[in-house]
Structure formats: C-alpha cells, structure tokens
C-alpha cells in the first residue's frame, strides 16, 4: 500500500492513555499518520477497511528502549534485520539499540550503518543509542554531538557502568545540551567483582560468586545525586534491586529528573531458578529475590517505574552451552515481553491495560524524546494490536531472532500480539489470532 492510501481500523477497543481514550473506536490512517480516532467513523470511498478482530485492542506502538541488535561485529548472534523482525513479531514498532557493538557505536559511521540496515529491513523503527565514552572504555567522552547529528537519541555505556563519577557528571551535562538522556547500567564494578549471580542463599549453596544488590544500589544513588547536581536527566537501565527502586522513588520525590525501566524477567523470575545452572538464567543485573520481584511489581503499579524494556541480549547457543561462570550475561526478550506483561501484569491484576501502554509506549517515547506513544491526529501510525485472551505457548525454536537464549521457552501465557503496524503499514500479522489476516493489506 502507498502512504497516501487511507486505512480504517474498524471496531476495536482503542487504548490511548495520552488522549484519555479507552473504549470502542475506529482509527483512521492516512499518509502513514493517524488522522482521526473515534467511535463509528464514516468510511469514505477508497478507504481500506481492516476489521479489528473481536476482543483485540488497538494501542500506540510499543517501543523497546533497551535492545542489543549486535550489528556490526556480532552478526552470528543477531543482525539489525533479524532483530527488527523479532521486534515486530513481539509487537514492538520501535527499538532503541545499545552501542556495545564491534566497533562500538561511538562515531557517526556506526550510527549511519545501523540506520541504513534498519531502513533496508523496513520493519520496526530503530533508534541508535550512542556510547557515552569512546570505545565504552570509560575514559573520555565520545563525540556525543556528532552521534546526535547522525541519529542517536540517547547515550549509554550499557554492558558496563560509567564508573568514574566525574566523567558521569560531565556526560550528564554535555548530553543534556543535545536533549539526550544518559542511560546508565548501574553497577559498582569493584563491588560486583567477577560475580555471576545475585549474592544470596541460592548463589551461596550453588557455589556461584555473588553480585550484591548493593553494587546496583550504590550507582543508582550516585546517578540520582549527579542528576540533581547537574539538572540533567538520567535514566536507570534494567533496575532489579528493591533498594534501587527506593532510591528512584526518593529522587523523584525530590524533583530529580530520574526515570527507570524494568525487564519482564526481573518482575517474574527469582534467583531460585539458578538451581541446575541453566545459563539462560544468567543475566546482569542478575535475577534477585522474591522481595525484589514484589518491589518491582509495586513500582509498576504505583507509577514509580516508568518503562518496561527487554534488554534483548541475543547470544549464539554455543556461547551459552558452557560452564555457568563462563557464559555471557543476557537473554532475548523481544518475542516474549508482551505476552509476559499481559499474563503477569494485566491478567494478574497488577496494572490495567492503559497503564501497560504507558509502560511500553508512552513513557519510552518521552524518555527518549522520540515520536510515538499516542494516537493523536498527526502522530505516526505506529500501532500495536493486542489479543489479550490469546493462548500463547512460547516456542524459542520459532523465534524470528537468530538467538534462542530465553528462560521462557515452553511457557504458556495468556495474551499476545495480533498485528503490528509501522507508519500505517502492516509489518506483522499473527495468524494464530482469528481474523487477524484482515490486517494483511496485500489482499
């Protein structure tokens, strides 16, 4: 379909918290943008009408603000093309990719390569995140202005923290000139040492070196203090410890410009899973204790957590089929996140759908300063259509991602994605949802 074609999504439940919409409505799309949202819109001749399947929910497109697409340099784990294919299959219309590639995304050339690959793939939007420091070495600032001009939306040394507090301070001040948040992987490296699992009972019994929660909490506290000092926004990546959440709450109460994200695995799984040494339970930050999971759920309910992000970290199966302490950290998340959120947050009664849309669409767009997050007239027609009652069985072997490293393989979950649209164009249809083929605009 060409962008000038008018398309009508007819008859779904629309959840658009920015505009206070939660009810039956039609969505009119023209030229790749939303033009009207309202009940029983008239259909002009020449409009393609998509009947939204019964029970499905039309939402502003979900944005995963924390993924690793591995290109350039680690194409055996994932490429931009396979990563965005996984994204749209998981209901994400946009992803922000971390700079720990090889070479590191610390120059315009790498940023442009990623954007060119994303344009070729033509599926999800890709927002590159540049490095805070050259080579992510933590020694001198990367050329943040150049990265901004090339298309980066934020900076981060994700995978490692900005260990030097003085450098972190300057990064916050400098990036704010370009309206870019600094996203920090909060971990005191001296305290974390060569730990591989949450320091607690289970790691102790299993003889695994510990990563204490304090290593995360200390840097979260430091970053909030530095954000207060500089007045610049800081975003806490993949928060996992209850003490870190307490610090964020306290910072927000004081008016500090701190935001944070949590991953689906950190609000569903605990360190009890380590028994058996399955390396698909190895990630950094590590799975923590039940009280931490409870705290994350609490933060999702009360609004102190801003975003859900997957920290999609693909690895080749060879790399994970090793001794636990030698395996790389990280799991994939793009193709499981929405089902986990629907099952474990919405159906479990922790949050209503409108709050989930804030966590997955509204707030990520705001934190990154990118378009999206709402269905206002003129907004890009990036749309995630949910099938909240769909029975989903996670099947890693069927992932679009090149990688299979998920702890959720075989899980049965309630709720999934029916279709994904980017710029008014359908980029994914889930044929398991009855009637979802109506989204197939090639028909």
């Amino acid at each position: 379909m060409s962008n000038s074609d008018r398309t009508m999504l007819k008859g779904g439940r629309v959840v658009d918290p920015v505009n206070g919409v939660d009810g039956s409505a039609d969505v009119l799309i023209d030229g790749g943008r939303v033009t009207r949202v309202g009940p029983n819109l008239g259909i002009e001749p020449g409009t393609i009408v998509i009947e939204v399947p019964r029970g499905c929910v039309v939402c502003p497109g979900f944005i995963d603000m924390h993924v690793h697409l591995r290109e350039p340099g680690h194409e055996h784990k994932e490429t931009v093309a396979t990563g965005v294919a996984a994204a749209v299959a998981g209901g994400f219309t946009a992803v922000a990719c971390m700079p720990n590639t090889d070479p590191v995304n610390d120059t315009a050339g790498v940023t442009k390569l990623i954007l060119a690959r994303a344009a070729q793939a033509g599926l999800a939007r890709v927002y590159p995140i540049g490095a805070v420091t050259k080579g992510q070495a933590g020694e001198q600032l990367a050329q943040i202005g150049e990265l901004r001009a090339a298309g980066c939306v934020a900076v981060s040394d994700d995978g490692r923290p900005v260990a030097n507090a003085s450098l972190m301070r300057r990064a916050l001040e400098y990036a704010a000139m370009f309206d870019m948040p600094v996203i920090d992987h909060c971990e005191d490296v001296s305290l974390a040492g060569d730990g591989v699992a949450h320091e607690g009972h289970h790691a102790a019994v299993l003889g695994l070196r510990g990563l204490p929660a304090a290593a995360e909490e200390i840097i979260v506290e430091r970053d909030i203090t530095l954000s207060g000092l500089t007045g610049s926004p800081v975003h806490i990546a993949h928060m996992s410890a209850r003490g870190a959440l307490a610090a964020v709450r306290s910072g927000k109460d004081r008016g500090i410009r701190v935001s944070c994200e949590v991953t689906p695995h950190h609000f569903t799984l605990t360190d009890e899973r380590l028994v058996g040494y399955d390396t698909n339970y190895k990630m950094n930050p590590p799975l923590r204790e039940a009280v931490d999971v409870e705290a994350m759920l609490d933060g999702l309910r009360d609004g102190s957590i801003d975003c859900i992000a997957t920290d999609h970290a693909p690895h080749h199966y060879d790399e994970k089929l090793v001794e636990f302490d030698r395996a790389p950290f990280g799991i994939v998340g793009l193709e499981t996140a929405v089902s986990i959120c629907l099952d474990r947050l919405v159906h479990a009664g922790h949050v209503p759908l409108s709050r989930l849309v804030e966590l997955l669409a509204v707030n990520p767009a705001r934190v990154l300063g990118v378009p999206g997050g709402d269905l206002s007239a003129g907004a890009p027609a990036d749309i995630t259509v949910l099938a909240p009652e769909l029975a989903v069985r996670v099947e890693a072997a069927a992932f679009r991602s090149l990688a299979r490293n998920t702890p959720f393989d075989g899980w049965s979950l309630r709720g999934g994605v029916a279709a994904t649209m980017v710029g008014g164009r359908t980029v994914y249809v889930n044929t398991a949802v009855p009637g979802a083929t109506s989204f197939d605009q090639r028909a």
């Binding site: 040492g193 060569d194 320091e199 607690g200 009972h201 102790a204 019994v205 299993l206 003889g207 695994l208 070196r209 510990g210 058996g276 040494y277 060879d318 089929l321 090793v322 001794e323 636990f324 302490d325 030698r326």
Partner: protein, 340 residues
C-alpha cells in the same frame, strides 16, 4: 557377598553386581541396591537412606583393601573416565585405585594434556568422550555446575569429584564414614567446621550431609569468609574459634585456598593463624575424644598446627584410606547395581 579374586567368599555381606545375594546381608542392602539419581552431582541428590546405603556399602568395601590381592570383578567390563580439569592428588589417586580394585577399565584425562589446551569446550570434550560409550565420567572442574552441564549432555553417569566452589560429594561421604568409624554415629554430634567457608566445596557438601544425618553443625571463620544466611543452611555460624571448639566431637579444618583468594579477606596468614589456626592449646576446650579432620591438602601453620595434624586426635590419614572405600561404594552403586 563379594567374590574374591580367587573365587572364595568373605563374610562382609555385599550384594553382588552380578549373581546372587547373601541372605545374611544387612537389611539396608536387601533393598534394591542403587541410587535414584543418574548422577552424583550434589549430596542434595541423595536421601538420608541413600547416604546410609553408600556408607554401609563402603564399610563392606574396606575389606577388599585388606586382601593380598586387592581386586574384585564387580565392575569388570565397565569403562570409567577420570576427567580432571584441576590438579588433584588425593581425589584422583583415590578414584583410580577404587576403580582398579573393582576391575573397571579406567582412563585418566587431565586438562593439561588433552584438547582443552587447544580450546575445546567442556561440552565438546564430554560429547566426544560420550561417543566412546564410557559408563561413568568422574569430573573435577573449576566451575560450579560443570557436572550438571556434562550430565545434561551424556548418558554416562557423572560423579562430581569437585566443581568449583559448589560441592565435593565423595569427600563429605568419606568424612561421614570416618566419623562413624570413630564415633559409631553422626546424629547428635557437634561437628565444627573451621576455615575458609566461602570458597569451600567441602563445606557445602558436608553441611548437606551432616544435617541430613542429624549432626549439629557449627561453622567458624573470619566474617569475610562466611556464606550469607548460614542459619538458613541449618548451621550455627560464629567468628569465635573458642566457641566453635567448645565441646566439639569433631573438628574439621578447611584449607585456606590461596588460589581462590581473589579479594581482601584477611590481612596475613600470620594473623589468620593467630585468630583461627588450630593449636593444641585451643583443642583443650573440645570433648576429650575429639577427632581432627582435614580434607587436604593442608597448609601447616596456617589453618592447622603441625602438632595437631600429626597428633593423637588426628584422623586425617584415615580419611584418605576411607576415600578409596567410599569411592568404590559410589562407583558400585552407580554403575554396578542398578542396571540389572
């Protein structure tokens, strides 16, 4: 009964790997011999009854070592691979002697003279060995859970001979055999384990085993070398060596693992010995019939004074002797007993 090499029978009452059973065997051996789990990766894999079965079997195995011809045909035709990624004297020698006394065909592979030095992964090494159809792989490795990985990849039974800081199950079993030999029981004894608790796989296996058999376990060491939440393990933790020694029936000293000291755990070996070293003077608080154990290798003058190690309370060499019997029992119960 075990058949001897010359075909005569002894009164030890062992069930046979092949053939009939003595009607006079102890009741515990009358139950279908063998262990539920495919592998021995952790003491946690064993029920209390299975621990007792191994100990009873080991008692019977001890007799084999007293014969002129120290060999029985129990594991004839079985192939056992000893795959050692870490240096070892006692454990490796003990397993190999145990295997040979049971007539198994043994193969010793050390990481330093195998494809490991060419960068082969553990998974590939294990799968390649598996292709040659061994019955048992005895694995010593520096990473916790290495045996779990190997067990997932092959049908051969895995015996964990020490995996990083995780466990060393046969060490705990031989310790229990030694305690029972000296005390007649494990239940109700006060067992104090002193030393580097944090990095010790011997501690982890012993805590599980001693608690399963009803001992009272006290763990003592510097605060920097404690495990988090020791009470959850059923262990009383103290930094006072006098408190640990007080009325102890068994004192087990753990090696200060200089090779695992990646951090700053105590200022000097000298100060460690002053605060936590086991000396003759300190021993006076213990029960008069206390026994002193050490899994080896010892750092004399660090965790244990030579006078204690070589003194009348020491059962350290009995532990080593019992190691062979316990490993024979484990090999027999895993490889010999069940498949019939």
């Amino acid at each position: 009964m075990l058949p001897t090499a010359d075909g005569t029978r002894h009164a030890a009452g062992m069930p046979l790997a092949e053939g009939g059973r003595s009607s006079g065997a102890p009741p515990v051996l009358e139950t279908p011999a063998g262990l539920r789990a495919k592998d021995l990766l952790s003491i946690g894999d064993l029920s209390a009854n299975e621990i007792l079965l191994i100990l009873e079997t080991a008692e019977a195995m001890k007799e084999v070592g007293t014969r002129t011809i120290k060999k029985v045909p129990t594991l004839r035709g079985k192939t056992v691979v000893n795959l050692f990624y870490e240096p070892s004297t006692r454990t490796r020698a003990s397993f190999e002697i145990a295997e040979k006394r049971l007539s198994a065909d043994t193969l010793n592979l050390a990481a330093t003279d195998s494809s490991v030095v060419k960068g082969e992964t553990l998974a590939d090494t294990v799968r390649n060995l598996e292709a040659m159809a061994p019955d048992i792989i005895v694995l010593r490795h520096g990473s916790a859970g290495a045996g779990h990985l190997a067990a997932r990849l092959c049908r051969a039974r895995i015996i964990n001979a020490g995996d990083g800081m995780h466990e060393h199950p046969t060490q705990a079993l031989l310790d229990a055999l030694t305690i029972r030999q000296r005390k007649g029981r494990v239940e109700g004894l006060k067992v104090s384990i002193i030393g580097d608790l944090l990095h010790s796989r011997v501690l982890r296996s012993n805590v599980l085993l001693l608690r399963a058999l009803g001992a009272e376990v006290c763990a003592c060491g510097p605060a920097t070398l404690m495990l988090p939440d020791m009470p959850r393990l059923g262990v009383r933790a103290t930094t006072s060596i006098d408190e640990a020694v007080e009325d102890a029936d068994v004192i087990m000293l753990l090696r200060i693992q200089l090779e695992r000291m990646r951090g700053y755990f105590f200022p000097s070996l000298r100060e460690y010995f002053q605060l936590f070293g086991m000396t003759v003077a300190r021993l006076r608080r213990a029960k008069p019939d206390v026994i002193i154990m050490h899994p080896g290798p010892m750092n004399r003058g660090v965790e244990i004074a030579s006078e204690v190690a070589d003194g009348p309370y020491s059962v350290i060499l009995e532990q080593v002797a019992n190691g062979v019997a316990v490993r024979m029992a484990v090999l027999y119960l895993l490889a010999g007993a069940r498949q019939e």
